[in-house]
């Protein structure tokens, strides 16, 4: 789960990482109230989960309430790469002497934590990594050992941060590391981490991605929830706890396991169709999950056919069959359903479904044939 900048800063705050005083605003009037509290000059920042806000006109400096009104009015409702701005973050403007970059993430190939620190902050770090890799000081951290203040201090030396900033930067980095580990982040990034003209180090931006697998030990995350999607189908799927991504095609997809679901999308495309969605019902899905999945797909007006591709392992095909039968009794499914069911308890599952098969509920014996049939039913290909 990606956090908005303001949520990321609030998360940082819990771990003692300094940020500028500020607050959120959903209207121009609220923006002025927040600006008055933060103290002028302020920065008015669009809250969207996409990079390049500054270039798109989503970040503006305001020296008085009139300018806050002007900028807040212009930024609210602004479309930044398909994300419409509905919320602003207003904070006291900082006097920046230097801009650094700092982040922690997991280095998957090496199975260690990876810290990245650079004096080339404030810009696209991927570009720095590509064009000037030696400008980034990389630090591998064994999760068993963690990051000590001493190591962090050596690291800021190596990165070449300004002498006067080094002690405080090391402290901020240790706190950011705690945020990354104890806060269960996939990514904790500050860009820019600034050194101010009055000699302080703090976070001017916050990019935090939380590991949803850790939600069970972070009840406070529930408040962060808030859907970041305008896709009604995705909202509906999320409310039912389904792993769904909306796409623009006409073949609804239900599969178990991320790999098989991705592969189903690929195969539908290869036989001339296009998928309406990605939907992985997960391992061990029961009848209720299957029924919910069918309901979500059924709500998508673009769907012309539904391809249910299940290979049972921990998921039992008889449970899937029960879910389909249950959904058919509760909801009128608008589109024909093509089934391909194999694996654990598939014999039992097929037996349960046999009396229900019709021209609206068809069975195919292979994934490729199932995809072809579903695509043909969606009227997309002459296969």
């Amino acid at each position: 789960m990606d956090l908005y900048e303001y949520q990321g800063k609030q998360y940082f705050h819990r771990f003692g990482i300094p940020t500028s005083p500020g607050g959120v605003a959903d209207t121009v009037e609220e923006a002025v109230v927040q600006a008055d509290q933060a103290g002028y000059p302020v920065v008015v920042k669009a809250q969207v989960k996409v990079g390049g806000r500054g270039k798109a006109g989503g970040i503006k400096l305001a020296k008085d309430p009139a300018e806050v009104r002007q900028h807040a009015g212009a930024i609210l409702g602004l479309d930044i790469k398909g994300h419409v701005v509905k919320r602003l973050w207003i904070e006291h403007a900082s006097d920046i002497a230097r801009e650094y970059y700092a982040s922690f993430t997991l280095d998957r190939p090496n199975k260690l934590h990876l810290g990245m620190l650079s004096t080339a902050g404030g810009v696209d770090i991927e570009e720095v990594a590509a064009t000037n890799p030696e400008a980034i000081a990389r630090l591998h951290i064994d999760p068993v050992e963690g990051l000590s203040q001493e190591t962090a201090r050596r690291w800021v030396d190596e990165a070449g941060l300004d002498e006067e900033a080094r002690d405080e930067a090391a402290t901020v980095l240790v706190r950011l590391y705690h945020c990354f580990v104890e806060g269960d982040c996939d990514l904790a990034e500050i860009n820019p981490l600034i050194f101010t003209t009055d000699g302080r180090v703090h976070a001017l931006d916050a990019k935090v991605t939380l590991d949803e697998n850790a939600a069970y030990r972070h009840p406070e995350w529930e408040a962060l929830g808030g859907s970041d999607t305008d896709d009604e189908r995705e909202k509906m799927a999320k409310a039912r706890g389904l792993n769904y991504i909306g796409l623009s095609g006409s073949v609804g997809i239900i599969a178990n396991g991320a790999g098989l679901a991705m592969s189903t999308l690929d195969v539908v495309t290869q036989v001339g169709g296009s998928a309406a969605n990605f939907l992985d019902i997960g391992g061990g899905a029961n009848a209720a999950v299957m029924a919910a999945a069918l309901e979500v797909i059924n709500s998508d007006p673009a769907v012309r056919s539904i391809f249910v591709n299940i290979f049972g392992g921990i998921t039992r095909v008889d449970e899937v069959a029960k879910g389909i039968i249950e959904a058919l009794t509760h909801v009128e499914i608008r589109s024909p359903i093509v089934l391909r069911l194999d694996g654990t308890n598939s014999v039992e599952g097929r037996e349960l479904l046999a009396p229900h098969l019709s021209d609206r509920l068809l069975a195919e014996s292979t994934m490729l044939d199932g995809a072809r049939r579903a695509v043909a039913l969606a009227g997309q290909a002459g296969q």
Partner: protein, 295 residues
């Protein structure tokens, strides 16, 4: 031969008394796996259809001489279960648990690496391992596998592992061992570990590798294949049509920037001499051709 496990492997099911543990533990036993014990704290002294249950791994290993474990417990208990197995002297641990926090996985992996360097962890979030006709540890449906080799299978995705087994078995091509390494960010066993073992196994004469978008493990595997493998490899990569920046179910399956796309992985594998198929069925067909050419 098979890799990592065989018919002599003695397995403890950690979580045998739970719903999933019971179902899959008993299925494994029915397949022929030596399921010698179960462990559930507080349920020691009971049994599950004749399989004795112990309170701790230490007791289970002392009583049965088990050398492998099958961890099928909820995410919040899984890492402790893995470490308990290692401490008790288990050498091969299969963890099927889905949904373990990445920080826990990273910590557990590194604790194993430091304190128990000879222990092999398979998973988490994987389907397990099956050596057809010998043993099945995990959640794979045993009836889709075919004994006798000569193909080894290694896959990141669980369901695509089954698909690969099924495609080959349907065509009468058997498997030596099929390993599901799992789709999580910190897998205990990776592609290269399995490719290395298949290369060394005299009965495995060709390898099928199933990857997916995200990370760089397939690219690293391609480097290994190009440099070290003499046996033919057929590969399939899922997620060609996946949109960038969206997590496709597996915590690992996400395209970020130009990294981890299916195309990049397919190109790297092709460059290493691997036969790359467009879908699982085609991968099966290509492997049939490879196996015929071996005969």
């Amino acid at each position: 031969m098979s890799i990592f496990v065989d018919e002599r492997t003695k397995v403890v099911v950690q979580g045998l008394t739970g719903g999933q543990g019971r179902f899959h533990g008993l299925r494994n036993r029915d397949y022929g796996t030596q399921v010698v014990a179960g462990v559930t704290p507080g349920k020691g002294g009971t049994d599950v259809e004749g399989i004795p249950v112990f309170d701790s791994m230490h007791e289970a290993v002392a009583a049965t001489g088990a050398d492998a474990s099958f961890v099928v417990v909820p995410p919040r208990f899984a890492c402790d279960a893995i470490l308990e197995a290692a401490v008790a002297g288990i050498g091969f641990i299969v963890c099927i648990t889905e949904g373990i926090p990445a920080q826990d996985e990273a910590l557990t992996y590194n604790r194993l690496r430091r304190e128990f360097p000879t222990v092999r962890l398979l998973g988490p979030n994987c389907p397990g391992i099956i050596s057809p006709g010998k043993t099945n540890i995990g959640i794979t449906s045993g009836d889709i596998a075919l004994a006798g080799g000569p193909v080894g299978i290694v896959s990141r995705s669980g369901t695509l592992t089954y698909q690969a087994l099924y495609e080959l078995s349907q065509q009468g091509v058997g498997q030596t061992t099929c390993v599901g390494i799992g789709g999580d960010p910190v897998p205990g066993t990776n592609f290269i570990d399995c490719l290395e073992a298949f290369q060394a196994d005299p009965d495995t004469r060709a390898v099928m590798m199933i990857g997916e978008i995200g990370g760089s493990e397939e690219e690293r595997a391609a480097g290994f294949i190009g440099a070290q493998m003499t046996k033919p490899v057929v590969a399939y990569i899922a997620g060609v049509t996946a949109p960038p920046g969206r997590k496709m179910g597996h915590a690992g399956a996400i395209i970020s920037g130009s990294q981890g796309t299916a195309q990049a992985k397919m190109d790297a594998l092709s460059a290493a001499g691997v036969s790359v198929a467009a879908n699982p069925t085609e991968a099966g067909e290509r492997m049939v051709e490879v196996v015929r050419a071996l005969a």
